[in-house]
């Protein structure tokens, strides 16, 4: 008995120890970025990344705001990520419902053709997309950043459709008998039951949009609509980078994502457990 209990305790300790090490390895780069952001420029390069920033200074942050339009970058990114997230929630729900429940000719081939788009890497569509936006004279506008992604992605539609299919059809049938139409069913039955997956979709979309660099880099060329990733990336030089500005910028750019995660943490964990998707 006693040895068994000790064995269990050792096992538990080992598991937690391993988890702690894993957690530390994952979070260390972020902590080092944050730490370095508080170092004065004169010691930034001469000390190791893990040497604590003593004395800490806010001067890098002040410089970041004085020399660069950091608030502008964050506002632009929030607008773009916000509109895309809301748009994707609306349109993905409608598309997913159509693919999951509505009966129309060619539904399956259409769905699989749509899903096949997931296999096309973004880099392949980059130049065609640029050409389209260029012809529509939308380069260097918010519309160029928003339009390609606001109507949902195959991944999002697949995610929500699979979830919709787990909701018993009987619920819908019962609602229909009570006189509910398609809209009412979608709004009153499906949506309330799909909160975890929609929260997941919202988080994934927001985070992806926030982190996206390549398309915003190509599509914008002025500070009027420059997003945070493009703004931060521009701080890297050909050889030398202004690390004392780059690191606080990266740390600041990360904060909204941490906030989003903390806000939706419960939903994210639950939906991963529910769908088995990550």
């Amino acid at each position: 008995m006693a040895t068994k209990r000790i064995g269990r305790r050792v096992n538990g300790t080992t598991v937690y120890l391993l988890l702690a090490v894993g957690g530390l390895v994952s979070i260390a780069p972020y902590l080092m970025t944050l730490n370095a952001a508080f170092k004065p420029q004169s010691t930034l390069l001469s000390t190791q990344a893990w040497t604590p920033a003593v004395p800490a200074t806010w001067s890098n942050f002040t410089q970041l705001w004085q020399q660069y339009d950091m608030s502008g970058f964050i506002v632009h990114t929030t607008i773009v990520a916000g509109v895309i997230t809301i748009g994707q929630l609306v349109f993905t729900t409608m598309a997913a419902y159509a693919f999951a429940r509505l009966d129309f000719p060619g539904r399956e081939p259409l769905f699989w053709a749509f899903i096949a788009m997931m296999m096309v890497p973004q880099i392949v569509t980059l130049i065609p997309l640029f050409l389209i936006m260029s012809h529509l004279q939308l380069i260097d506008t918010y519309r160029a950043l928003i339009l390609p992604y606001v109507f949902g992605t195959p991944y999002g539609i697949f995610l929500v459709r699979q979830y919709f299919q787990t909701i018993p059809a009987d619920l819908e049938a019962a609602a229909r008998i009570d006189g509910a139409g398609t809209w009412a069913i979608l709004r009153r039955i499906m949506l309330p039951l799909s909160k975890p997956i929609l929260a997941t979709l919202a988080t994934i979309t927001f985070v992806n949009t926030w982190n996206s660099l390549l398309w915003p880099l190509m599509a914008t060329s002025s500070e009027r609509d420059e997003v945070v990733t493009v703004g931060v990336a521009a701080l890297q030089g050909q050889f030398a980078s202004e690390l004392h500005i780059l690191l606080p910028a990266a740390a600041v750019a990360l904060l909204p994502l941490v906030a989003i995660f903390l806000l939706f943490q419960r939903h994210i964990v639950r939906s991963i457990a529910l769908t088995g998707l990550k």
Binding site: Q137, G181, T182, S221, S222, Q236, G237, Q238, A240, S241
Partner: protein
Amino acid sequence: MFRRATRKTLALATAAVTVVGLTSACGGSSGSSGGTVNLTYMIWQTSEEAAYQQSIDVFEKAHPNIHVTIDLVSWAQYWAKLQTSAAGRNMPDVFWDHLEYLPELAKEGIITNIADDVKSSKLDLTQYSPKLLAEWENGSTIYGLPKDWDTIATIYNAKDLTTAGMTPAQLGSLSWNLTDGGSFVAALQKLTVDQNGKHPNQAGFDAGHIKQYGIALEAPNGQQDWWDFGVENGCELQDRAYGAWTVSSAACVQAMQFEQDLMYKWHVEAPGTITNTPNAAALPQILAQNTAAITFDGDWDLDTYQSSLPAGSWGVAALPTGPKGSGTVFNGLTDAIYSGTKHPAEAWQLEEWLGSAASEKIVTDSGTVWAAIPSLDSGFITAWKAKGIDVSAFYQGSQGATIGYPLTTSGTAFTNVVLKDMNQVWLNQMAPQAAANDITSVSNAAVANGD
């Protein structure tokens, strides 16, 4: 059925309205509005933005009908962005151009040959450094007015130099050779220390635990390392501009071999595990952390050394001389005009301003870059003297034997293969001759294929 159809139409209509609302939500794109011409000027160096903005402010005052937006895109993404926008025929009107990319851009016909503009504006091209101008001219074409130049020099940690009993003047007058390494290797031996305080030429030196290397060199293509040893050994990368690659010649291979020997025979240079790009720490960081006592670097990094090392703790010296004398890599940029710009006249006005002595003086006097107009170069030296650094070694380098950036349409192939192979050489996993043969054959094949 009817009701369902109506609802579907309604949904479609809602979607359509959203799209329309979205597409008309924001302001228009660049071009001309209300008589003002908007030009975009794309650059890649953060540290130079302020000086160029200052110059453009003056330009805008003189040309109230032109508004210039600087688009700062880092080097890592600059060329990808440029090539995408070239494919979309929607490029910045004026942008920085580099010799590594000039031949390909010229071949694709997306940069303007400004020869006619130069003639009609009666611009005096002789004001520019002839060596610099020559790289951007090809027969009767000229693809941009030179805006600056750069060379490579030695940067040292002053304390390490004092500890080794050496003066900056001594450091600046070293020489190397292929037989015993010369005074350069002897000096690096003094600057290299293992954890027991022993030097590589002393008994009991532990090459496995070196505390401070004499030198650390780092370059993705060779500009700050073996090209410099190469020019001092009579190595030519090409038989002529736009010609065949000759990297496998004895003079070039010897230069590579000399550097590999610095790492693995003399144990005075930090090995590839520390300096291989793109993942290595930047040279200023290597010097700041005392991983090495000296390095070779371009003047573009001066600002970083100045901000990350305490005042008076570093300095600049001339490169060592080699078997064929002194030499350094000499390179410079121009401003290019997009051939499809909607405002060619205004773009030329901007180009002419940026290439003028007035604009180059603003930029050079701020200590940002050396000017392409030689009479202005003293301004750069003065600006750095005020910060306590003597940068004249870069200038001396530019006056001596130099090697330019290779001019070729096979630049992409060369850049890729040279990074891959030389990283192996610096890890001691490939012989310099084998690397040089591979680099030469791959790059020459690219020349033959015309890509």
